[in-house]
């Protein structure tokens, strides 16, 4: 079982079964209030279920942070078309490794969340889309699905409620872009993962052009607790407008990297110092990424007083994102960090929109020569200009995801770019470079 030593500062809601013997089995799940939220929801009207989710202030945990209850409310429940529930388990935002832990340790919690979503929009089928690299999780999910069918928690007339639901596991095969909701739906239909133009949104025309609820794994995993204990109780765990907890992945130069479940609004400094045990080797913080490599970078000064929630991060012109926290210490070369992030987006751009396809590759080339000491002073502004010209000009957020960290690094660490203007390789490489183990 994959999970780190828990921290006493965690609030265990989604992770409450982690560490129990056979936590992934249906027996453990049923013995610990499992599927009770579904039974409760089955006695409620769809409006009541959606209202409960709205009250919880649950917001999409995949990165965008859109209010979940509102998203569910957009699905035309009375449409004559079949409705679908799709789980986005294509976790591939650099810095993020939480869905993997949730699926591995408690797959039935995810299944129950999907069932409740199904009740809320009268859907009777769903798909759990898992990235190809997480092959072992396909086996975990298929085993859990088989158990659920066997014990009557999936299939026809579930537990005598009259509700039918079929759920399937579906694998991707390596493509970051498929984590974008419309590209994921294309991929689910057996096509290249190219984004769709919106509107129509998936709520109206999603899987197989039918109304669809599409949420991240963590979002669905939060739903059973919301129905079981009430939306208000979940909301009370967080701060106003951001209810509940967030699975937070501490990565990079930190003493105790790991996945921790923290209340929304958790102070960043406390998270680094007390949950994560401080910066490795007693170094100072240089840069902080709150939720995956597509978020604008914060400096150590900007982190002062920040809390891990949507609004605190928005007020600092960045995003809570996926919860993939990336911590960089004082020895990190920010040009190298920007280059590595851009190499990723250039590799993953699906090529559909020109600003993204050309912009990411162009930026990768400039950053590569810059890091090697071959950059010019005008390149510094050019990097920012190209990135700004990608913003908002693509079908999907991948272009923005590549542009946002780049713009922030150039603006906030301009002096590091200037330090590279000497015709020599990276000035930081010889002074301890990225890391010293």
């Amino acid at each position: 079982m994959l999970f780190n030593q828990p921290s006493p500062l965690e609030t265990k809601v989604l992770t409450r079964r982690f560490g129990l013997p056979n936590s992934a089995s249906i027996d453990t799940y049923l013995a610990t209030e499992g599927y009770q939220a579904f039974l409760k929801a089955a006695k409620m009207t769809p409006e009541q279920i959606i209202e409960e989710v709205k009250v919880s202030n649950l917001r999409g945990r995949g990165g965008a942070g859109f209010p979940t209850g509102m998203k569910w409310g957009f699905v035309p429940r009375t449409s004559p078309k079949p409705k679908y529930i799709v789980v986005n388990g294509d976790e591939s935002e650099p810095g993020t490794c939480k869905d993997r832990v949730l699926i591995e340790n408690d797959p039935h919690q995810l299944i129950e969340g999907v069932l409740i979503a199904g009740l809320s929009v009268d859907a009777h089928a769903g798909y759990i889309y898992i990235r190809g690299e997480y092959r072992y999780l396909i086996e975990v999910v298929e085993k859990a699905l088989a158990e659920a069918y066997e014990k009557g928690w999936l299939g026809k007339n579930i537990q005598g409620t009259g509700f039918d639901f079929d759920l399937y596991a579906h694998t991707g095969a390596g493509a970051y872009e498929c984590g974008e909701e419309s590209a994921l739906l294309e991929s689910l239909e057996g096509k290249r993962g190219i984004p769709r133009i919106r509107p129509p949104f998936p709520a109206v025309a999603g899987a197989f052009q039918c109304p669809t609820i599409l949420n991240n794994v963590e979002t669905f995993c939060a739903v059973p607790a919301i129905l079981r204990d009430g939306g208000a109780a979940f909301a009370a765990l967080g701060i106003p407008k951001s209810g509940g907890t967030k699975m937070t992945c501490l990565t990079g130069h930190i003493n105790k990297p790991g996945v921790y479940e923290l209340k929304l609004g958790f102070p960043v400094k406390q998270m680094i110092e007390e949950v994560g045990g401080g910066i490795r080797n007693g170094k100072k913080l240089k840069a902080f990424i709150p939720g995956g490599s597509s978020c604008p970078v914060l400096t150590a000064a900007e982190v002062e007083g920040a809390t891990m929630d949507y609004d605190s991060m928005a007020s600092r012109k960045t995003m809570l994102g996926s919860g993939g926290v990336i911590i960089m210490d004082e020895d990190t070369c920010m040009v190298k960090a920007a280059l590595r992030i851009m190499r990723f987006y250039a590799h993953e751009s699906c090529g559909w929109c020109i600003p993204c396809r050309e912009g990411t590759t162009w930026l990768k080339k400039i950053l590569t020569r810059f890091h090697e000491g071959q950059g010019t002073r005008t390149d510094i502004d050019l990097i920012g200009d190209i990135a700004k010209n990608m913003l908002g000009r693509t079908f999907c957020p991948l272009g923005d995801a590549a542009a946002m960290p780049t713009i922030s690094i150039v603006e906030k660490f301009r002096h590091e770019f200037e330090d590279h203007l000497n015709g020599k390789p990276c000035p930081y490489e010889n002074t301890g470079s990225m890391v010293t183990v």
Binding site: L2, N4, P82, E91, S92, E93, P94, G95, T96, C97, D99, R100, A125, Y127, R131, G132, E133, Y134, R135, Y136, Y168, H170, T171, G172, A173, G174, A175, Y176, S187, L188, E189, G190, K191, R192, G193, F208, C249, L250, T251, G252, H253, P257, G258, V259, S293, G324, I326, I327, M328, T332, K336, A337, R340, I341, F344, H347, E348, C350, M434, V435
Partner: protein, 160 residues
């Protein structure tokens, strides 16, 4: 084409998992699962998947070229995928990748002469909190050091 009974069962289940007329949905999973069994995507497999999903071979090829895990060239028996993305990089994933290449004497997407190993520098594999991480075929290895990597590769080499 015939596959193992397990794979045939998996295919049957897959083709029944999607709404009527939507069998194309099974294409990516079928290609990946078949690749796991036969080692790579062959023209014969493309034709077979096309027939079973009601598509043309061109449609299958179009999809095949998009996904980074699907490959038409054979890989080593042990495909060593080293992540060098940001969270792994901060924990020396780039040095680990260089070390792997040097030790095996091959570069990105190359295969050793005996066909035992291949190397790939991969993008984020979702092991960021346990970095640096690698995957050997589908198996994850976390907190990998050059020493641990040497031991792992030496052990796999002996298993031949």
């Amino acid at each position: 084409m015939t596959f193992s009974p397990q794979l045939e069962a998996r295919f049957d289940k897959l083709l029944k998992s999607y709404p009527p007329g939507r069998q194309r949905s099974a294409m990516v999973p079928m290609l990946l699962y078949a690749q796991d069994e036969i080692g790579r995507i062959t023209d014969e497999l493309v034709n077979e998947v096309a027939t079973r999903t009601g598509c043309t071979p061109l449609q299958v090829n179009e999809v095949l070229s998009y996904y980074s895990m699907l490959h038409t060239k054979p890989l080593g028996k042990y495909h060593i995928q080293v992540c060098t993305n940001i969270s792994c990089l901060l924990r020396d994933g780039d040095k680990l990748y260089e070390h792997t290449c040097k030790k095996l004497g091959i570069g990105h997407k190359e295969v050793t002469a005996d066909g035992q190993f291949s190397v790939e520098e991969v993008e984020c594999i979702g092991a960021c909190s346990w970095a640096p991480a690698i995957q050997v075929n589908y198996d994850f290895h976390h907190h990998v050091t050059p020493e641990k990597l040497d031991q792992l590769l030496d052990g796999l080499g002996k298993k031949q």
